[in-house]
Amino acid sequence: MKRRLLTLPAFLAALSAHAAPALPPQEAAAWLQKISDASRRMPYEGLFVFQHGGSAQTLMVSNRPNSGSSESRLLTMDGTQREVRCTQQASVTLMVNGNQQRLERRLNKRHFPDLLPENAAPLANWYSVRSGSADRVAGRDCGNVEILPKDAYRWGYVLCVDRNTGFPLRAVMINGEGRPLMQYSFAEVRLGTMPRVDNRPIPAIPETARPVANERVEVNGLPPGFTRIAAVRRQLPNLSGEVEHWVFSDGLTHLSLFLEPAHRPAETIKGQSKQGMINMIKRPLGDLQATVLGEAPMATVETIAMGLEAKP
C-alpha cells in the first residue's frame, strides 16, 4: 500500500501536469526534423491500428531503408486486402477482392508512420511544438509531442515518439478543442531490425497521371503556409473520364482540388465527415465543377474553394 502511494504522484503528474510552454522555434524545428528522419531512415516492421469515425483497421507496415531511399510496404490485415508498396521508382496499391485484383499507381510514397515531410523544419512556422507527458505504446517508452496549429487552418497532432529514437509510435489527429479525430497506434513494432527482403517485383503499370498542360483556374489567397505541390490530370477509381487533381499542402496538412466538366446544373454543396475531420466543398466554376476536400477545418476548404476563379 505504501509503495503504491509513493508512486502515485508520478502518475498524477502525468495526468494533470500543467501545460508545458511551446518550444522555441529552433528547438521545435529540430524536434520535427528528428521525428521525420526517424520514420524514414530507420528500418522497422510492425502492426498498427488506424481508427477513424467508428471504424478501425489493423495494418502491417515495414520499411527497408537503403542508401538515400527506402522500400516500404503496407498491408491491411482485416477487411478487403489492400497492399501499398513503395520504392524509389514507384508506389502502387494492390487490391484483392476474391479472384479480382486491381493495381493502381499512387502519386506519392508516404504513409504512416512517415507523417512529417522530409524537410520538416519549416513546419515550425505554422505549428508550435510542446512536449507532453511520458507514455508507453507498443511496449516502448515514449514521450508525447504536441504539434499544434498556430491558426485555425489546420488540425493538430499529438505524437508519442520513441524515447530513444524519436520514431512515432502513435499519432492522434486533433481538432482545435483537442478532440481526437483519428489515430494511428502501433500495437507491436520491431525498430532497427531490417525486415525481410520482399523479392516480388512491383508490376509495371502505365503512368496514369500526366501534367496539366493548360491551366483553366486561378487560385487566389491560399491559407498561410500552403503551396501547390502537385497538379496532374488523372483517372479516378470508379469515376469515368479524366479529372485535374491539384494538391495544396503546408507539409503536414493536405487538401485536394478536383476539376472536371460540370455535367449537371451546378450547385454548391458542403460536406463534412461525422467528427468533422474531413471537410469538402463542391462548387461550380465556369463550365467546370470544383471539388475541394481534405483533412482540414472547413475554414481552409472554404478559403481555397472561394478563392478559385475561372480564367477567361
Binding site: 491500428v49 504513409h111 500495437a187 458542403k270
Partner: protein
C-alpha cells in the same frame, strides 16, 4: 471520512489495493475494467480518488487549476471515452506474442469497445442550410489519400446545400 474509512478497512482492503493499483497502472486489463466501473459507481471510491488527487497536489506543492490538465492528458482521456478511437488498456502483457497474434488481439479489443459505446455526435455544427442527399466522395477521397495518409476508411459524410454568396467569408 477517514474514521469511517478505517472502520471499514479490513473487509475492503482488496478493493483499496485495486484502486491504488489502478492509479499506478499495475492492474491487468480485466481487473482494471472492473475497477473503472466501480470508480464510476461508488461514492466511496470517488471520495478516495479525490483524496489521492489532493495528496498528489500537496506532494507536488501545487493545486491543479480547474481544467488545468495538459492537452495530452485531455486527448488521452478523450480517447478512453471515444468509441472512434481505441484506448489500449495499460496492463501487463505478454510481449512475446507474434505480430499476427497481436493483430487478432487488437481486432478483438476494438470490436469490444465499438459494440459497447454510444455513437458520438458531430462536434462541428453544419451551417443551417438544407440537407443535401449523399454525394459520392469516395473516388475523390481515395485519390486524395495518395498525398495524405494512405489509409482510408469510407467516410460517413453529411451534406448541405449552400449558396455561394453565403459561403463567402
Amino acid at each position: 471520512m477517514m474514521t469511517k474509512a478505517s472502520t471499514q478497512q479490513m473487509p475492503r482492503q482488496d478493493e483499496d489495493d485495486d484502486l491504488s493499483a489502478l492509479f499506478d497502472g499495475e492492474l491487468g486489463a480485466e481487473r482494471a475494467r472492473l475497477a473503472l466501473r466501480t470508480l464510476g459507481s461508488s461514492p466511496r471510491w470517488r471520495e478516495r480518488y479525490d483524496t489521492y488527487c489532493a495528496i498528489g497536489d500537496a506532494l507536488r506543492g501545487t493545486h491543479a487549476p480547474a481544467g488545468g490538465a495538459d492537452l495530452t492528458a485531455r486527448v488521452m482521456t478523450a480517447l478512453e471515452q471515444e468509441p472512434t478511437v481505441l484506448a489500449p488498456m495499460r496492463g501487463p502483457r505478454d510481449r512475446r506474442a507474434s505480430l499476427w497474434l497481436a493483430a487478432a488481439a487488437v481486432g478483438a479489443i476494438t470490436w469490444g469497445l465499438w459494440s459497447q459505446l454510444p455513437e458520438p455526435h458531430t462536434a462541428v455544427p453544419l451551417a443551417a442550410n438544407d440537407a443535401h442527399p449523399p454525394v459520392d466522395v469516395q473516388p475523390y477521397l481515395a485519390a486524395h489519400q495518395d498525398f495524405a495518409q494512405a489509409v482510408i476508411s469510407p467516410a460517413e459524410m453529411n451534406f448541405t446545400q449552400v449558396s455561394l454568396a453565403e459561403s463567402r467569408p
